[in-house]
Assembly symmetry: C2
């Protein structure tokens, strides 16, 4: 089953004339930038999930809320679907266009409207880059905590759509925990405020519902984020292990002792070697796994935690232990981790980045399961984990030029995610469902649960015009996907039988 | 406008024969405990908002999920409304019964199903008391963080319904931040799991939507909560101020400096004197305000924070500063605060406890506004605040035996909440909307926003059988409430004109 929108499975879409739609938009919003030439549309045909592409019917780049409203009203009146896009860095195809749809690009909404350092909040437009917020408030000793690896490029509007996380979300939470208020436009063009400037808001928590809804409930036009004071001290420990399962056990021990590190990351031997070759981070290339543990806070507290965690890691069987001597070494340790994906890209023609979560205690079992699946499918897997919060990013190595390898990589990825669900986890951590995991949603949820998702969607967008085909599968898709599984005649999780 | 359900405004309810309904329930669930005698029903006629009472049609006390399902199916088939109730300690009338409805009491669901100290989670039934969770996991050095003042009596199911907070929610979050997973029954009797054992769950965040939904979307039958390690050190600072506004400013400074206290509470002179008379906590009775600031964490960190916060408080104009010398004095400092409500009850025939939130920076302005409103209405107000998170609990002192005083207290309460909304806050912090604040919801939200609440409600409960008349006002109610305001011919917030 391909990632492309399938009208038979995902729902029919109307066929609309591009020129006629562009004329209507021009009439409704005379200053609106509209792209219709194939050459202009091509840069927008995919997001970070670049393997799958579709040229949108047209692209609009509004620069005012009124223009967004005009686009939505014209789309709603004609039944044309609308896919919103921030910076297009998403990794699950959430902003992948529809050939029969408008792509609504929020890139011109880049204003930082207000910074209130006393209240520790900033009000920004949705196209502001994640890192730009922290840069704008650095003079006050503040920063915005969620830091996806794409933070230099990704936009806060996209972060809300995907409920983005990052290295520090174990300690500082996901996007949903760092946003106070969102102004959004519904498909009817109505301006609705979700949340408030206070710490809680009455009625149903529509702000949390909206965060991570992947552009299916409305279009963000303004965001109020929480800011945090920069910790005075930050240190990083690197522990080497001869056994990856033991490294997994050490993670549970650290958290179980009540230490909440600023970041707790794990890499396996394949990732270590790839990163070391590329970045020369000073990683031990013979280790089966390393843990990188960042501790932040007051100077005394960090020093105390470094000793405590060091002792825990040694007791957990670490074969070597190093504290970054200075800021330069700390940056090098992290550079290896942050460049692990491109580093793996150097040792394989193609790779496929997964994103699943599991309860931390299941780390050892899932690591063993992934190794078994890797053998079974005959494809190498490099493991790079946000270990502290049980968020896995296995990278499946393959060669798209070898017939069948891409399908096999996709199938292996699906099985890894199903393994995550099997142990009580979920099919996505921080990358979202988008188009990529639409089938796995049928594994994660019962039909009755999927129906409630659709009912909630219908409360905001009854005609299903906002980002159709993403995030929540149609019941028809789950039926088809289920049939496929039965057709293969396999036990659902044979690789788990051994454990 | 009274707190009682009004069919003309809140929606019509069917008239059902009590004996006939009881017979149907007995047939559907033979072992179900059903109360129908007036004497048996009386103890259930109100929750913690005791001024308003209604005798339910009947009370059921199921002891299994199957019995809950049977009750819901029978209610749904007949169109009889169902009000769920935990321990009945809520302060906004969220569990106030309907004369034409079933009261579904979850008091028999008291099992702690599983404690997993390594994963720091516990799986419990909804009737388990908040404090009982912490007691059950204390042997592992863990506790459940949200601690409403009623924690000795209130149930975790009720905590979820109201998204309960407490003294520590500034640092450790509300209920929504401390719950991983909820199993709930829809009005159709379908069992739905919200959230997962992992740190995030794909699709729309229905768990956050459900938390704080006041029994309007489904009935909790099992909860998985997060547990935290007990901090090794806890200290409390008490600062006295000659000026309540300056105390409000000090709060913003502490938070602005990046200290996140375990608790940060404020009391004004009237509360201080009442509490001191009652508890002999050692409070300075001449102070215009005190701040109680609790710091928790590692020993070194707490000692460092105590010094830092002490210096900040002195710089902010504190006239006196004391650190509780030992655990006994710390407990006494808190006993005064925790008993502030009953202490105020000793100096007035009746009082009315409010619950609003504001952005912290607005504390000084709102304190001045409340004083002005108090003068205008001729009623004393004692101020007891969760200052750190801007959650206010003004207590309005009145005498219900004086004609008109109760109405005046209600009106003053309404105006204080509207003042909270005016400065960007909201009409409830941790007590919920329930029946008490149903009219203020019309102030907090635009009609369009209220409509989305109804649409979301309809996604789960299209016939509006779960706790009707609470939390989300009908559009008819907002229209009536609006008319009342216009009829009074007043400026909406005249008391703000001076500032």
């Amino acid at each position: 089953m391909s990632f492309m929108y399938d009208e038979a499975i995902d729902g029919p879409l109307p066929t609309v004339d591009r020129a006629e739609l562009a004329a209507a938009l021009r009439a409704g919003a005379p200053k609106l930038e509209i792209l219709t030439d194939r050459e202009d549309l091509r840069p927008f045909e995919c997001d970070g999930l670049a393997a799958y592409r579709a040229v949108p019917l047209l692209v609009v780049l509004p620069s005012t809320v009124e223009e967004v409203r005009a686009v939505l009203k014209i789309a709603a009146a004609r039944g044309v679907p609308v896919v919103a896009r921030g910076a297009g860095t998403g990794l699950s195809g959430g902003a992948m266009p529809l050939e029969k749809g408008i792509l609504l690009v929020m890139a011109k909404f880049t204003r930082i409207v207000e910074v209130d350092p006393d209240a520790c909040v900033a009000r920004v437009e949705p196209g502001v880059r994640n890192l730009a917020i922290s840069q704008a408030v650095a003079q006050h000793g503040l920063y915005y905590a969620p830091d996806p690896s794409s933070q230099i490029a990704c936009s806060i509007g996209g972060n809300i759509a995907e409920n983005a996380g990052g290295v520090h979300c174990l300690k500082y939470g996901l996007t949903v925990h760092n946003v106070l208020k969102v102004d959004m436009l519904t498909i009817d063009g109505e301006l609705i405020t979700l949340g408030s400037d206070a710490f809680d808001s009455p009625g149903f928590d529509l702000l949390a519902l909206f965060t991570g809804s992947e552009g299916m409930l409305g279009i963000v036009v303004e965001v109020t984020v929480k800011l945090l004071p920069k910790p005075p001290s930050v240190k990083v420990l690197m522990a080497s292990f001869d056994d990856i399962v033991r490294a997994g056990e050490a993670v549970a021990k650290i958290i179980g002792e009540g230490v909440i590190p600023g970041g707790l990351e794990m890499m396996d031997n394949l990732s270590i070697r790839a990163a070391e070759d590329f970045i020369h981070a000073g990683y031990p290339v013979d280790a089966e796994a390393i843990l990188l543990c960042e501790l932040d806070g007051s100077h005394d507290d960090v020093d105390e935690d470094v000793e405590r965690v060091g002792a825990l890691l040694q007791a957990a069987g670490a074969s070597d232990l190093r504290v970054a001597r200075d800021e330069a070494e700390r940056q090098r340790f992290w550079a290896g981790r942050k460049n692990a994906f491109p580093a793996v890209g150097r040792i394989t023609p193609d790779y496929y980045c997964m994103d699943g979560t599991i309860p931390r205690r299941e780390l050892p079992r899932v690591l063993t399961g992934i190794a078994a699946l890797s053998d079974q499918f005959g494809l190498r897997v490099a493991n790079v984990f946000h270990a502290g919060d049980g968020n896995l990013h296995p990278l499946i190595l393959f060669d798209a030029n070898q017939p069948g390898e891409m399908d096999r990589a996709e199938a292996l990825g699906g099985r890894i995610l199903e393994l995550c669900v099997e142990v009580g986890g979920s099919i996505t951590g921080e990358h979202g469902v988008g188009r990529e995991k639409i089938n796995q949603m049928c594994v994660q949820f019962k039909q009755g649960e999927i129906e409630y998702f659709h009912a909630v969607k219908a409360a905001f967008d009854p005609s299903c015009l906002l980002n159709p085909g993403k995030n929540i599968p149609t019941l028809r898709r789950c039926a088809e996907f289920g049939k496929m599984h039965v057709h293969m005649g396999q036990l659902k999780f044979p690789e788990l039988e051994r454990f």
